[in-house]
């Protein structure tokens, strides 16, 4: 068997149903000398390493989901996700960016319709955490240059019809007897990393709209017009001041 075929068969077996290891395909089994330890037990070492390590990665990046559904349920969901969506390359920092879509179609999670948005929140926090380092726009730069504002690489925008920021705070309170209503209205958020940790900022509708338009590389004057079209009360000066302070925008200086 060609090496490429050996690797493909080995990979397919690792991602197959767990029971497939108990009775590996004959042509695969014929590749190995086994000795005292039967082949299924040997293959299980690999399978446990692969699925175990990836499950650990998924659980570590979803502490809020763990609080909401419990460790065992998250583990079950993560294992199914991993077998259907194995990583596509060798760096796992951003692994699992489709977990929200998987949860949305996961039958056992249908009773919790806000769960995909909570996954989106955690994915955004993770992406902000690992985003490349850059420097923020300062007020001085605004005075010097013609304006073209870009969001920093760590800025993520998220809109949910559930109060996912409040659900997060609820998760972190760690009081199992408390309950909260998830129907108190939606929220628009900016998730970003001003320092070393991901931070969540609640946004006004007009503010969210303006950032979203800017994120599509729209020139500043057009972005203001577009936002004023849909939000008559948009306060551009207040917006600019607040987001310079928050360090939302990328510096205009090159080589940073």
């Amino acid at each position: 068997m060609q090496l490429s075929e050996v690797q493909k068969r080995f990979k397919d077996t690792m991602l197959d149903h767990p029971k497939a290891l108990d009775d590996p395909p004959e042509d695969l089994a014929a590749l190995f000398n086994v000795g005292d330890i039967p082949l299924p037990e040997r293959l299980k070492v690999y399978r446990n390493n692969i699925v175990g390590s990836l499950t650990d990665v998924m659980i570590a990046s979803h502490p809020l989901l763990e609080k909401l559904v419990g460790h065992e349920f998250l583990e079950l969901m993560a294992r199914s996700f991993i077998l259907e969506n194995p990583p596509t390359h060798g760096c796992l920092n951003m692994y699992g960016t489709d977990f929200d879509k998987f949860i949305a179609s996961y039958e056992l999670a249908k009773a919790l319709p806000y769960l995909p948005d909570m996954a989106r929140l955690e994915i955004a926090m993770n992406e902000a955490y690992y985003a490349a380092d850059d420097k923020p726009l300062t007020a001085d730069e605004l005075a010097e240059k013609e304006l073209k504002l870009k969001l920093r690489q760590n800025v993520k925008l998220l809109s949910s019809k559930y109060p996912i920021d409040k659900i997060k705070d609820f998760c972190l309170k760690d009081d199992p007897d408390k309950t909260m209503s998830v129907d108190s209205g939606g929220v628009k958020l900016m998730i970003y990393r001003p320092g070393l940790d991901s931070v969540i900022v609640k946004l006004e509708d007009s503010e969210y709209e303006m950032l979203l338009v800017l994120s599509r590389n729209t020139p500043l004057d057009e972005a203001v017009k577009a936002t004023l079209n849909t939000h008559k009360d948009f306060d551009f000066q207040g917006f600019l001041q607040r987001h310079i302070e928050l360090e939302t925008f990328l510096t205009l200086k090159t080589n940073t």
Partner: protein, 301 residues
Amino acid sequence: MSVHLKHNEPKPNLYPPASPPRDPVGIGLRHPYYQEVTDNPPDVGWLEVHPENYFGGGAHRHFLSKAREKYQLSLHAVGLSLGSTDPVNEEHLRQFKELIDIYQPFNVSDHASWSASGNAHLNDLLPLPYTQGSLDTLCRNVERTQEYFGRTMLVENPSTYVAFAENEMSEYEFMNRLSEKSGCGILLDINNIFVQSFNHGYDAFEYIDGIDADKVGEMHLAGHIEQEVGDGIILIDTHSRSVKKDVWDLYEHAVRRLGAVPTLIEWDQDFPPLSKLVEEASKARDIMNRVLAEDIANAAE
């Protein structure tokens, strides 16, 4: 071999230049140790990290930058999948090279194994048959990586739990030929040799004696677990325990043959206090010093 020119823009030299560490024992810098290593740098000669954990930016790079101000660094990759019949991922190479340019490691390495097939990367060090065909594949990917980096790399012998019936040579012959053909150095993992020799029934000391001594640029030590399977036992390389006595004995044999090669204590799960890693590192240093003292005494006689 031509040097890749894509990333040749001059970079400010932020850190002390790479040099072989004066104290040859190092430990793995992992997340739970970031603050302590920054605040109270432990008494070891160098640090090792997996470059994949530092792709992108943020807190991980912040602490790596702090650590590099005080220590020499070895970048030990787990994600290049050098044994895959697919070519090495160019984006992975680009991000890895960026770290090499910034942090100037004294060693750069990955494994003689594969992880990726088609569009799936399985995040484990999977076994290769030791054949001429595997050797050609591995050499092609190692050569591509060395060309991109503009430097030689080390390749490590993995732990394996299956042995291929079609093997045409022993693992140490495979590693020697890889080194000879691609020009890479060998990263000799002593624990992996012990685990392998137990799992597949060969002589670990013979392996050490067979390896090309002048090619070994780094050694690794780690703990493993014994797992009962039916009537037998299989050893699993977990990096979650202290180094076992048998592995220390094998290491001493390796030091006698190979000299004071930079040696790493690896620990990747069930993290103990940092002091435990420093203690293990001291043991390795003591073995090197004792062997060196004996050599000098023997030479004087």
